[in-house]
Symmetry: none
Subunit: 238 residues, 2 copies
């Protein structure tokens, strides 16, 4: 995440001014994630210890300190609306559409994260499913708006390369977003204990790398391609 | 590794735009390595202690905390594909070739690292050799593709100096890459205990410095030479 941040910011001079805000925000998303993953790492390390009992095999033991998954939700509350805004900005829609889409998708996605948290910290399966369902309402709205909106935007890109990148961004968005509700369900279907916690953390971490760093590389590639096409158009009007 | 990162990034304004992405990634590789070597250092320090028993000679003792070699494999999973991409980018091949080579070599090298890990954390020699053999399949594919591809690319470099640097990058790649399977074998041939662990760690660390920092200096030298040749070509069209 940290390396991705530096990559995006070092690429700022290589894209035209129109795409620098999108690329700046892309780097901010992975920076916020870097910070929270350090907190998650430390909380995880404090919650578990690996020790050899009486010279036998190494085993993982609880230290008694709780692992705090709240860092992940605070991270999402900040990064998910920003992720959507970076995608809207790189599409370079008309100004009013940019502003209205940013507000609608930004607020809906923040609501989605906020509604997921009360269920995440619950053991009661019925309560977990209740919050999962509530959270899925803004989730479906955002994913549907993106899938439809990006389909339209794809056809308006200035070059075939930019169109194919925009189409890749669309598929990656749907794929990475849909991972989260499934990972959330790991514990809701009755799996419990260390294995469930491990699957959940690995699943969220993989989905985060896809949705933030890999998605960011696509945003950069779209910005670089459109900068090149629009830049050359300026120098050599056809 | 950290100093190499700073060197590469401070050199960014000294190369032309075409080579900045290659040099940015070169610095990211050594940055990721810096981070993981700090983790490896801390894990090593926590696993061993040097103490004097009853006022006698100092001796190394186990603390009970396990030394975690996983950091090395996570490092390789990220840096090895990036290393190959920096080499492909600095060669400035046609766009389609760059994209297809980056995908093929990137995925093959990630697979190579992933197949090596299950054997690395094993004591059973037969199982170690099994994963070593599996991992050698993508290894041979990558090294062979590089040796052949770099041979072709060398002849297409814009100046004798650039060609001799590209040829040096080729030899360094083959030399540093071939170090890893031999170091992996240290434990597979039956060596065990502290001496084997030490040889393995020293071997991997030396190979990493060659494959990341020294190799990165060559990438920078190629980028600088080609920037100078191509830049002067623009000013003095021939």
């Amino acid at each position: 995440m940290g390396s991705a941040t530096i990559f995006f910011w070092l690429q700022l001079p290589n894209v035209t001014k129109s795409y620098r805000t999108a690329l700046t925000i892309t780097g901010i998303v992975t920076l916020i994630a870097t910070y929270h993953y350090i907190r998650i790492f430390n909380s995880w390390s404090e919650a578990f210890t690996v020790a050899s009992k009486d010279g036998g095999d190494y085993a993982v033991q609880l230290t008694g300190a709780p692992f705090n998954d709240g860092y992940r939700y605070v991270d999402w509350l900040l990064t998910v609306p920003l992720l959507l805004i970076e995608l809207i900005l790189v599409m370079k829609l008309p100004r009013e559409e940019t502003v209205s889409l940013s507000w609608k998708l930004g607020l809906a996605s923040a609501l989605m994260v906020a509604l997921g948290y009360p269920g995440e910290i619950q053991e009661d399966l019925a309560v977990r499913w209740f919050w999962w369902c509530l959270s899925m309402i803004p989730f479906c709205y955002v994913v549907f708006t993106l899938a439809v909106g990006l389909n339209e935007a794809t056809s308006k890109q200035p070059s075939p390369a930019a169109a194919s990148l925009a189409s890749a961004a669309r598929y990656l968005t749907v794929l990475s977003w849909c991972t989260y509700p499934f990972v959330y369900m790991v514990k809701s279907v009755g799996l419990a204990g260390p294995a469930a916690t491990m699957y959940e953390q690995v699943g969220y971490s993989l989905a985060d790398v896809l949705a933030k760093a890999v998605f960011g590389v696509l945003i950069w590639a779209i910005a670089a391609e459109k900068s090149a096409v629009e830049g050359s158009g300026k120098l050599l009007p056809n």
